[in-house]
Amino acid sequence: MNNQLSLQNNLYPLLLKEISDSPATLYYKGIWDEHIFTHCLAVVGSRNMTQYGKRVVDQVIGEVAASGITIVSGFMYGIDAQAHKAAVDAGGKTIAVMPCGIERIHPAYQEDLYNTIQETGGLIISEWDGDSMPAKWTFPKRNRIVAGLAQATLVVEAGLESGSLITAAFAKKFGRRVFAVPGPITSEVSKGTAKLVQEGASLVMGADDILAYFGKKQRMQKNTVRQKSDDPVEQSILDTLGSDVIEIDWIARKIGMPVAKVGTALSLMELRGVVSEENGKYYVN
């Protein structure tokens, strides 16, 4: 039997009811708990997520989700999927709104994430029954639900032609708050967010900006104290890294040490969880 909920149902999310063309029926997977809709933040962004985007999502969304705000997104790879993951990893709840029929997993290779979302008390939602394919027109339709479910929409990285801007436009139209994460103006996927800021979106510099909007207590500041190490090599690596993402060759060059030594130190630091590596570049956790 399909899980579905009509517009007339008392459990139908109030925020979504408010919008002009709320879907008549919502199909879903997972266990429907109306409390999940109390505080919702929509997180959208580019499919071509950069390392910067990933770090922002991991840090900001992790913190937001951990304080009990539901993360709503579109289950696409890139920022969307990363937002779902960050929410799940932080022990929070997340809702994925699908651009296709409820029976279809799109993209299919994210099946693991699809299951995890449900197992951790989250929901998969679609306004379409069956296993219909996503089409060009279903994505913007889906976006109105993403924006409609949430009190605010956060755009992490978006190109100028990005679907994320459509979601942001919906949020604006519904009178919801739009947050945008600044990025380097040289990056293609920061141009959309920069434009949003120009048009009056709230600039986000950390989870606090979002938590404040939801009236949540700001959490303890972490990472304020710089990591310290007793080992001189590790210390100079930490100093060099600072808050940057740097490849090993650069670190070795900067501190003037053979790359073999630096690699040894980085391996040990990574195993202790002090630094992380992504695509050959390192950063302090």
Binding site: Y109, I248, A260
Partner: protein
């Protein structure tokens, strides 16, 4: 009158004796026939031999001549029975004796001179093993045979010379082991490592790979220097030792890849087949099994540029040779074993457009495209590659600005010295083992030669868990750590060696 002349045939790297039996009879119509499963090339030998004898100003006997190549049930191929056939025919006609403990081998030209023939080294090895004392081979190929000092090698320039020699009128000078055997040559590389700016970690990975004979995969955007690194590799490879040299020369001799007048191959082979290479071209094969690129790269380097562009079937075929260090090619009629102990150097782009994670350019590929691209090399193949290293894009400005201060890389010669030392250590270590380098170690060898202290084992375990390594990767790390310790001239594998080894783990699978 029946004359027997000894010769040989090659099947892969194996050699078999072939008796060339020549019978001349005065009865019946004059004729000249070859029996004993001759191929087209052998059958045409009749015309070459006849013409060569006539052009050597010797009268071709007007008799009924039957040649039998025994054993009669094995197909004979190639043109090198020309010489034994001619000697057999002339021995009967001119009445000189053919020495018993001698092998004859070589293709005749129509003017009676002998042409460079493949497989002469194998013939000499065969002669030594089966107690032949002399071999007669074409002059251009004699240098190969001269590598085997136990036998007397007669370089033959012209058919008439052998005849005169056998008839006792002149004495051919046997070739002596050339005192200037080119051992310990340094291969010339297109680039010196010092010319490659930046890429410190990739260079270090190359050094480790070359020292321990490990396979290595480089992933990086176009123009980051992957190909350059690979082309610089020959300059830091350790010297071939004598055993290795002979092994390599055997493969090259059997496949006719030694030029006329050439001798021992003394530099490590470096093969870089294009990605359109067929499966047979890479692995070896054909109805007469020929060695493929992997065997021609034996004891050397097989460089597969644009690794992911090779057809999947071709890459998958590498699995078994990578594991066994040899390849057995079986065809309906024949079976040949070729050695294939090579060091695989592969380079790949991170995605079809090449700019995934590039600092400046944006990647145009969809997630699906990237995933499909990565899937082209399967897990088992990647698992058999010991070292994985990222070759990041280098920014031009950095290269020019800090050129002097920041990028003073070592020259290939300096690196080669370190590698040679590490290789010597390994040679000593494996004196009583059938292997040569760390990369070849199996579990039993790891237990003996790559003992880990509790502390180091612990570190490896933590790393294996954190990075989700397969069991094979786990052992790979031990091998790499062994090589790093060798480069460091340390007997025991220490924490720092293992920690560095972890840098070169496979990073392709644990994304997502």
């Amino acid at each position: 009158m029946l004359i027997k002349v000894a010769s040989a045939l090659h099947m892969g790297l194996e050699t078999m004796k072939v008796d060339v039996e020549v019978n001349t009879a005065n009865r019946g119509l004059p004729g000249f026939d070859i029996v004993g499963l001759p191929s087209k090339a052998v059958d045409e030998s009749k015309e070459r031999v006849k013409t060569a004898i006539t052009n050597s100003h010797i009268n071709f006997p007007m008799q009924k001549i039957i040649i039998n190549l025994a054993p009669a049930d094995i197909p004979k191929e190639g043109s090198f029975y020309d010489l034994p056939i001619a000697i057999g025919v002339l021995s009967a006609a001119l009445d000189f004796a053919v020495p018993e403990k001698a092998l004859f081998f070589g293709e005749l030209s129509l003017d009676g001179s002998l042409r460079h023939t493949r497989g002469v080294l194998l013939l000499a090895l065969f002669a030594k093993e089966y107690g032949y004392e002399q071999i007669f081979v074409p002059k251009d190929s004699a240098n190969e045979a001269a590598l085997i000092p136990e036998i007397t090698v007669y370089p033959v320039a012209h058919l008439a010379d052998v005849v005169e020699h056998l008839a006792g009128r002149i004495a051919l000078q046997p070739i002596t082991v050339s005192d200037a055997l080119p051992i310990g040559e340094i291969q010339k590389a297109e680039f010196d490592m010092a010319e490659i700016l930046g890429q410190e970690q990739a260079k270090r990975a190359m050094e480790i790979a070359a020292a321990g004979g490990h396979n290595i995969l480089m992933v990086g955007s176009p123009g980051s220097g992957k190909t350059m690194l690979a082309r610089a590799l020959p300059g830091i490879l350790p010297y071939l030792n004598n055993t290795e040299s002979l092994e390599v020369t055997k493969v090259y001799s059997a496949s006719g890849n030694i030029p006329a007048g050439g001798s021992l191959i003394s530099v490590r082979p470096f093969r870089s087949p294009h990605h359109s290479t067929s499966l047979v071209g890479l692995i070896g094969g054909g109805s007469k099994p020929q060695p493929g690129e992997i065997s021609l790269a034996h004891r050397g380097v097989l460089f597969l540029d644009e690794f992911n562009e090779f057809p999947r079937s071709v890459l998958e075929a590498l699995r078994q040779p990578l594991e066994d260090g040899q390849v057995i090619i079986t065809r309906a009629l024949r079976r040949a074993l070729y050695p294939a102990q090579f060091m695989l150097v592969a380079s790949a782009n991170p995605c079809p457009c090449g700019y995934l994670n590039h600092p400046k350019k944006s990647c145009m590929c969809s997630m699906r495209e990237v995933q499909n691209y990565k899937k082209r090399a399967s897990g088992p193949i990647l698992d058999r590659i010991d070292l994985h290293v990222e070759v990041p894009a280098v920014e031009i400005d950095d290269l020019t600005e800090h050129r002097e201060t920041h990028y003073k890389g070592e020259s290939s010669l300096e690196i080669q010295k370190r590698i040679q030392k590490a290789r010597d250590t390994q040679e000593e270590r494996f004196t009583h083992e059938p292997i040569e380098v760390n990369a070849e170690m199996k579990n039993e060898h790891l237990k003996k030669y790559a003992q880990l202290s509790l502390e180091v084992e612990q570190l490896l375990r933590i790393g294996a868990n954190k990075f989700q390594m397969s069991a094979r990767s786990y052992f790979k790390m031990k091998k790499i750590a062994r090589t790093i310790a060798d480069l460091d001239e340390k007997q025991d594998i220490a924490i720092e060696h293992m920690a560095e080894a972890l840098q070169y783990r496979s990073k392709m699978n644990n994304e997502e």
